[in-house]
């Protein structure tokens, strides 16, 4: 707001109520965005409150998000969020330019067109501000002025708040990524990338409970790589790791909705299938067996050599065994796997379910 010429005294005393409204709105919003954790909620707050401390009702904030971008568009008092893999020509141009720009309405014909909500007859200019941390751009703000160009105070508030806004959203994204990485580390096997033993057992437990509640059967497959010790002894432990990794990838590629695959032990893999009956689990197990046996493994990238790898599998199901516990189910499937091994390996054996 422009100061009026009616008052005298130092600048300090020239604060009018409208300026105080600006400060109050800014401080409150800074507070709110620190307290809130959800990006959508923060964006909604900003979409309504920004106009109270600067002439900003239409804006776009772009924040880096791992290999993609978080786009937040604000207009008509609402915020609209989207994730994009690549930037629009406008965002891409200014992101690469990486310096503040002010584009007046009459200049907008040059260069890439602004986002649709930043175009209109009331828009007088667009302020573009990149926010860099450690020399790297983390966010890009495009804020449109309506009716009148941005005042000096508007520009100061936009820069000040925009920087906090970019930091907060970027911080939340980084925090989410760190939490996801920690959870992934705690629940996944490092070598194969599959669920680890604890997690697949936990999955089995929860699915078993669900199966009891719904009455729909659950099935399990236990797979073990044949002659894995010989692979390690003959080709070395690195080759063993390649077989485990490649084998896991092949099995993971066979996993469909409602199926979970985890590394159960050294070279053992457990698949939990829900809902799934005896008939279907046999078909799925056969699918896994073929995925391993049909194509040889390449175990040395320098001087590639083909290695035929097979797995033996056992299956079991809760069908016709309502109320069976997790330990009994695992014991049954382990026995079935043992039978596959005893019967020459590279085959599927269903559990011998006791009949009442």
């Amino acid at each position: 707001m422009k100061p009026t010429n009616k008052i005298s005294g130092s600048q300090w005393t020239e604060l009018t109520a409208q300026q105080l409204v600006r400060y109050e709105a800014l401080f409150k919003l800074l507070d709110d965005i620190q307290i809130l954790e959800d990006i959508a909620e923060i964006s909604r707050c900003i979409a309504t409150q920004w106009k109270y401390f600067a002439n900003v009702t239409r804006w776009r904030m772009v924040i880096t998000k791992n290999k993609s971008y978080q786009i937040i568009d604000g207009y008509r008092g609402e915020a609209h969020l989207s994730d994009v893999q690549s930037l629009s020509p406008w965002d891409d141009y200014h992101w690469k330019l990486n310096r503040p720009r002010l584009i007046r309405a009459e200049e907008q014909r040059e260069g890439p067109a602004p986002p649709e909500h930043l175009i209109g007859k009331s828009i007088t200019e667009i302020k573009i501000l990149p926010f860099a941390r450690l020399g790297k751009c983390i966010g890009l703000l495009s804020a449109a002025a309506r009716h009148e160009p941005f005042s000096e105070l508007d520009n100061k508030f936009i820069r000040l708040f925009g920087s906090h806004f970019a930091d907060r959203i970027s911080g939340i994204i980084l925090q989410q990524q760190a939490i996801e990485a920690l959870i992934s580390k705690a629940t996944h096997d490092e070598l194969t990338g599959l669920l680890n033993r604890g997690t697949i057992i936990e999955r089995l437990n929860s699915q078993l409970a669900l199966s009891r509640r719904t009455g729909q059967p659950l099935s399990v497959i236990l797979a073990d790589i044949d002659f894995f010790k010989a692979i390690n002894d003959t080709h070395g432990h690195l080759a063993g790791d390649v077989v485990l990794h490649e084998g896991a990838l092949r099995m993971q590629a066979q996993v469909r909705g409602g199926e979970s695959l985890g590394r159960y032990g050294g070279e053992e893999f457990l698949v939990v299938l829900y809902p799934c009956d005896e008939e279907r689990v046999a078909i799925v197990a056969e699918r896994f067996r073929r995925a391993m046996a049909e194509t040889a493994f390449t175990i040395n990238e320098v001087s590639p050599s083909d290695l035929k790898v097979t797995i033996s599998l056992g299956t079991s199901s809760t069908e016709k065994q309502e109320g069976i516990g997790i330990q009994d189910l695992l014991k049954q499937v382990d026995n079935a796997l043992y039978c596959s091994k005893a019967n020459g390996r590279n085959n599927v054996t269903p559990a011998d379910i006791p009949h009442n």
Binding site: M1, K2, T4, K6, I7, T16, A17, Q18, V21, E24, A25, A47, T48, Q49, W50, K51, Y52, N55, V56, T57, R58, Y75, R76, G77, E78, S122, R146, H147, E148
Partner: protein, 186 residues
Amino acid sequence: MQRYSLTEYDEASSTTQAVYDDYMRTTGATSVPIWIKSLGHSGALAGAYWERAKGTLFYGSLPLPLKEMIVFVVSAKNGAKYCSACHAHNVLNLDKTLSFGDLQLFLKDGSGFQLPTYYKSVVTFASKVVTDANSLSDEDFEELMDEGFSKEEICEIIAVIDMATMFNVYTSSLRLDLDPEYCAIL
């Protein structure tokens, strides 16, 4: 004829005193205005009117000066002398650079002093509601949304207009006398 009687703090029931206390705590004033005193004979009525004013003016997301301006504009349009004086006083108190002449000019054609651009749209909207709420069109809402107001904020604007109208009816019907400090500006 004076159409109302005032209940002073010392004569008031404990319920009314609690309302007076809450008014003073919330606004920072050291006495209560005539409109509350005129309701002081009933703790329930005084409480109901005060809660309506407090909930609408002191909570929500609209800035207080904007709400004061809405109440002033609505009261002036409704010809409510007491409310327009009271809220003109509040608006002027909030901004020492404003004169009553500025407010009158602003009321006339939305000009006269520098305010954020959204004020004019809100005042136009409020004037239309006061004239005939049924005449509001989607375009009127669209205009406020284009100024950056969410649907929830527009509801809040309407609630402030509605509250002002309620007080206008009450104060005008009783022809409430102005509080001494408001007389000077009219």
